[in-house]
Amino acid sequence: MGTISSAFSLMSQALDADQSALNIVANNVANANTKGYTKETPTWQENSPIEINGSSYGTGVSETGATSVRDPVLTERLDQQQQLASASGSRLSALNTVQALFTPDSGASGATAGDIGSDITSLFTSFAALEANPGVDASRQSVLSSASTLAGDVSNAAASLNAQRTALDQEASGVTSQVNAITSNIAQLNLQIQSASPTADAGTLEDQRQQDLSQLSQLIGINQIVTENNGLSITTTAGQLLVSEGSSYRLTSGSVDGETHFFVGSTDVTQQLADGGGQLGGYLTGRDADIPGVLSSLDQLAYSVSTQLNSLNNAGTDLNGNSGTAANPLDIFNEPTAVAGSAAIMSVVMSDPNDIAAAGAGQGTGDNSNATAMAGLQTQTIVNGQTPSGYYSNFVTTLGSLVSSVQTDNTAQNASVTQLQTQNDALSSVNLNDEASSMTTLERSYQAASQVFSMLNTIIGSALNLGQQTTVA
């Protein structure tokens, strides 16, 4: 048989439980704007009933502590998507800087400055003008000046691209120290979590670990492996171990052939990190794939135009009646020795406009057949099977499509990150309206418990007075 005094004790426990639950709600409200905080809910537990004379009596409720409301699958998924979005984001910003070098020419007069496409056409049309007037100095001068403009714009673009590569390289190497700081922090948290909460969610510690993981996901691509006792191992997406429970392994960087390479232990993981994701993946893709691709296209253009025009000019007859020889070549452009690097070294080496060989071999200086041949190069497939302008047009389309596709990827990935973030926030972040309603519920429950307590008090008073109404109030 239950007693009034056991009901007293039951109610005082209920009051305690309500208080600690109110504490949890208050903590939620206090941390409503804390980054990485996961909403906590009180854990109610029905006390074990007691059995008296074959009848079972409840013994009230206990509040056994706060539980973080967390979906590990969702947070890991969010981290993975974040890695993709960061990679495409940093790659996109690198590509945007690249494409700014090749802003399309609107065609309006005065808008042609720096446009390589117009420069190519100007160079060849200057030969066409020379064709009309092979002996006139102004036509020759205009060939040299168009050639200088093209060479200047191509070599400037190459120099800017190289400078961007260097900048990306520096950005990339700066990421290592951030990664190392985060991984060593995670290793420490692993130890704390394993000792403090080996079987259940570690609450605040887990919040910190998740926060670190989400930061790490912005930097590099990672895999998370949950180990025993709530530990966590982290590898790069290609499988190199960065954190193994309580130990972290440093990501180091070093210069290889003038570029920053990345190592875990002694393994060079540069390529794996480039493919892995995160900001670092984006930087490395920009540095090792995108910019070199653009540069090599420019190199091909510079190489073909320089060598073809040089070789034709050497074969013709200049205004002084000379043809180019090995000892005294009539080169218009700095003759490149290999395709790679041609764009960066493109420059006009000819200083005397009379050295332009408008006349064909063995012809008088008034002949224009060589100028016609040089002007004709613009309709010939001299650059990788395409005409110079066709090649440039193709290059522009390819670059534009690349930027546009990375942009599309990035937009989609960011949308997906937002969606996952929304799902995760819906579950784990503090909703003040929810807290207000919990607070009200708990307040009512506390009031009810107090009321019951005070009624029990009256009842036990009556029992003590045994019908006498005066002695105990």
């Binding site: 496409g117 003008a129 440039y392 047009s393 930027v403 546009s404 926030d425 819906a426 972040s429 309603s437």
Partner: protein, 303 residues
């Protein structure tokens, strides 16, 4: 169902997005250009390169064509004058043949024809912008030089037989010059200078047989016809250039129209989009302001 309590953050993200597109649209409006970076329209950017290339080629051809037309007109008018000089030489020679003239008159006619020879030589040495136009490829050397060493005197040609062509953007070739030897040094009786030199030699002596003078006059007529024939080549080139130039200009107009519509912003469309974006932005701002007010929290109702 639980909802994301941080929906304001998402709304602010949308607001940022509308600002980005406003910026984009206003930049299109202010520059009048639809494509400001390659990624906005990669295919059109590529086409634009090709179109601009063709437009510039056409433009350059029109300029070159004006220039060479000037040169061809100089050649044509020089040849026109040569023809009239030769005509007067023929009438002078014919007048000397009518048998009424004495030796001194014939000599005087010889002197006049000698003057015509000098005039024709100087016309054959015509130059345009410092370049001899009847010298083939040797435009920096005076092509026709008279020599007194022989009798009759002779005129030698120092140029060559080189012919220059101008290529039109569609690959056709227009002949730009007729080498001097072809006009003035035609083979046999069609050589202008041979005919004139022998006339001068024959008439300057004061006595010329009728046979000789008839033969001299005939060869001069043949030479004259020959020069006229060569002049036709020059005239043909001039009219061909005019036709080509016109075709190229009309082509250029079409290309420019295509290029403009490719690259130009459609002001009406962009303005409409801008206005829509502005409306969206205002709406978003209002929504955020409404939602952000503290009166919307359940806590504010719990007094």
């Amino acid at each position: 169902m639980r909802v994301d309590p941080n929906y304001i953050t998402n709304l602010v993200g949308s607001l940022d997005q509308t600002q980005v597109s406003e910026q984009q649209l206003t930049s299109e409006l202010s520059s009048g250009v639809r494509i400001n970076s390659l990624s906005q329209d990669p295919v059109s950017s590529g086409e634009n390169v090709i179109l601009l290339n063709q437009i510039q080629q056409d433009d350059s051809f029109t300029q070159s064509s004006n220039l060479v037309t000037g040169q061809l007109q100089v050649a044509d008018s020089a040849l026109g004058m040569v023809v009239s000089q030769l005509n007067s030489a023929i009438s002078l020679a014919t007048s000397a043949n009518n048998g009424t003239m004495n030796a001194s008159d014939v000599k005087s006619i010889g002197t006049q024809i000698s003057g015509i020879l000098g005039e024709v030589t100087s016309l054959a040495n015509s130059s345009y912008q410092g370049q001899y136009i009847f010298a083939g490829g040797q435009t920096s050397t005076m092509p026709f030089v008279a020599s007194t060493a022989t009798s009759p005197e002779s005129t030698t040609y120092n140029g060559d037989g080189d012919i220059n062509y101008l290529e039109t953007p569609n690959g056709q070739k227009v002949q730009l010059n007729v080498p001097g030897d072809q006009i003035f040094m035609g083979s046999g009786t069609s050589s202008v200078f041979a005919a004139l030199n022998s006339l001068v030699a024959d008439y300057s002596s004061g006595s010329v047989s009728t046979e000789q003078s008839v033969s001299d006059t005939q060869s001069l007529s043949t030479a004259l016809n020959y020069v006229s024939q060569q002049r036709v080549t020059v005239d043909n080139s001039i009219s061909q250039l005019a036709a080509d130039s016109e075709a190229v200009t009309s082509n250029q107009t079409q290309l420019t129209a295509a290029q403009t519509s490719l690259m130009q912003a459609d002001v009406a469309q962009v303005s409409t989009q801008l206005s829509l974006t502005e409306t969206q932005q205002t709406a978003l701002e209002d929504v955020i302001a409404q939602l952000n007010s503290t009166a919307n929290s359940l806590f504010s109702k719990l007094q």
